[in-house]
Amino acid sequence: MTSLSCLKRRAFLATLTAASLGLAVSCAPTSTDVSTSPTSGAPTSPQAGGGGSTVTLSGAGASFPAPLYQRWFADYNKENSNVQISYQSVGSGAGVEQFLAGTVDFGASDAPLKDEEREKFKAANNGADPIQVPMTSGSIVFAYNLDGVDELKLSRNAYCGIVTGEISNWNDPAIASSNQGVTLPDEPIQWVYRSDGSGTTFGFTTHLAAACPNWTAGADKSVEWATGTGAKGNEGITAQLQQTPGALGYVEFSYARENGLKMAAIENKAGNIIEPSPESGALAFKGETVPPDFALIVADPSDAQAYPITTLTWMLFYPGYSDAAKADAIKNVVTWALTDGKAGAEELGYIPIDEELATKVQDAVAQIK
């Protein structure tokens, strides 16, 4: 009898632990929290940072630039072991919210601050404006899974029709006409979109709203799709593209390249079909005037050789910090990221912002007190 009751108790405990475990896992926010602690063996150059004592900065926000930010902060920490920066990729919305609530030292967002957010910030900070600066940019690409088709070209008509469901088969004449000599299968197009709110969707739909007359769903971090399947996160999109023959979806260029996804070349405003690359992406901002709050969105670039879907991503700073060491550290990190950090950005497939814009960003950040 004792063994039986013991067994029963164990069974109960097991179910209980399992239930609470399941609960804990399903409730955990999907964020990656990587703090850059100093590596003991790394070479150090103490004077480059701000002051002698350790400065700790914490930031939160967009997930699209998170791999780059984490790499930047880790690299910076190797050179300046007294500055430790942690970044949580909780999403742009949550990042802005934490920034407005003052629970982080800096925020990050894939969309510039909205007017009401700006007003909210001013009300809480004696009328002072937040400092919003672009840190890097990236292209959003159409990635696909089609056996035997390695260089898919999509005209504007084709991709505008696909995202609304008007074009639903791969051998549709609108697709075939720009892919002469390629055998397109008689299969349905399995459209894949991001089901979670994301800056990628914001950038992608901003372009669709500007480029596609038939696109009525608007532009936001999540929109109402008329067709397709939703996948959670870049990793969800990637898994689904790799598994589903005939699938087509949108992801960040850096992500597509890292995972070896096939990317389509698409038609830009000038009518040229452009392959996605850091160079063609950088052309998107050529000749554009930057507004004072750096909220530059080029929905449909006019340069003839520009890849049409490229977006900036921003960091948000407070106009003043009570700890002078923090303010100094922020200035140094931003300057470092926009100069020495360029190599890391290119390696990961991001597009560094050009020198002219970088100078303006550094001027803006220099005003932090």
């Binding site: 067994l7 109960f12 097991a14 999907t30 994301s198 109402e224 799709w225 959670k232 589903t244």
Partner: protein, 320 residues
């Protein structure tokens, strides 16, 4: 309180100076448990209140029409929960459809002496380990192993029975039916563990009596043991249903997250918890409020299931 009085009398008898320390401990313990019991109630009220207070803007703008509308449009700030409610209930229903026969069958097998106990105990333990797998792992397993494995079978079903509306679309790689099957595996341990415990704890006299009357083992199980344990079995099913309704991560990864209703089970769908998990991070304003409204709906749905469970279990206990 009446049951307490005997205990109090006993303490009174022992209330000579020698036992005053014991009395004090008793009293402290009594108040401690009272505070804890009230505390858990307060936490529930607090959570419900916070949900409600954030959901109020959405409740004000959409009212009860929220439950019947199929629009989920963050751009125009128009929201409705019907596709999610439909997906939540249907996925739980399909999961139960598979998990109940399987779970009760395994529970009966494990509670009978078909095999020596040395073998049965490890099997029972393995079943409980299933419950310890995090749901994100089930999601990953579903994406990379389970769905690719059953897709050919589903394609065959679609070819052969495509005229049945629920099998009418070509099976998608993320879909309601396959997600529900993974859900069935996830809720199995709950059904098995509790049903088995119930079956084991049935007084042996019942079984002996049935055998004495000349019943076969099969008759004993179906006519005596299962009816006797029915309240426990139904209780386990209701607990499993509660878990299925609230399951988040695995469904967010597998169900396809399309906020539309498709009559075919092989098409992508959505559930309440999957939608919340997907959109909460980037939501603000009315969208966030609508997500909290959905959470309230889920809470009420689960409450309804629990009340129903109490009711059914109570009924069957009276039948005994």
């Amino acid at each position: 309180m009446t049951s307490l009085t005997t205990a109090q009398q006993e303490t009174l008898i022992e209330s000579s100076s020698k036992f005053s320390g014991v009395r004090l401990t008793d009293r402290i313990f009594y108040w401690l448990t009272v505070i804890l019991a009230i505390g858990i109630g307060l936490v529930l009220i607090w959570i419900t209140y916070s949900l409600l207070s954030i959901a109020i803007p959405a409740i004000a703008s959409f009212g009860l029409g929220f439950l019947a509308s199929s629009t989920w449009n963050p751009v125009q700030d128009v929201y409705g929960a019907f596709p999610q409610i439909y997906g939540t209930i249907l996925s739980s229903f399909i999961a139960l459809l598979f998990a109940i026969p399987l779970g009760v069958g395994v529970a009966i097998f494990l509670s009978e002496n078909f095999l020596p106990r040395k073998i049965l105990t490890p099997i029972a333990f393995t079943v409980e380990l299933l419950a310890a797998i995090p749901s994100v792992v089930y999601g990953m397993w579903g994406i990379f192993i389970f769905i690719p494995a059953i897709l050919p079978l589903l394609k065959w079903v679609n070819n052969a029975f495509g005229w049945v509306p629920i099998f009418s679309t070509s099976p998608s790689t993320r879909q309601l039916f396959a997600a529900s099957l993974v859900l069935a595996i996830m809720i199995l341990p709950t059904i098995i563990a509790i049903s088995r415990d119930t079956m084991i704890s049935i007084p042996p006299q019942l079984r002996q009596g049935a055998y004495g009357l000349g019943a076969t083992r099969w008759e004993t199980i179906t006519k005596v043991l299962v009816p006797a344990g029915l309240s426990g079995i139904i209780g386990s099913i209701m607990l499993a249903l509660g878990r299925a309704l609230g399951e988040t991560m695995a469904l967010a990864m597998l169900v396809g997250n399309s906020n539309r209703i498709n009559i075919s089970w092989f098409a992508p769908a959505s559930t309440i918890s999957a939608l919340i998990a997907n959109q909460f991070g980037e939501a603000s304003g009315l969208q966030k409020s609508a997500l909290f409204y959905e959470a309230l709906v889920l809470m009420l749905l689960t409450l309804a299931v629990n009340v129903l469970a109490e009711f059914i279990v109570g009924r069957f206990q009276q039948v005994e």
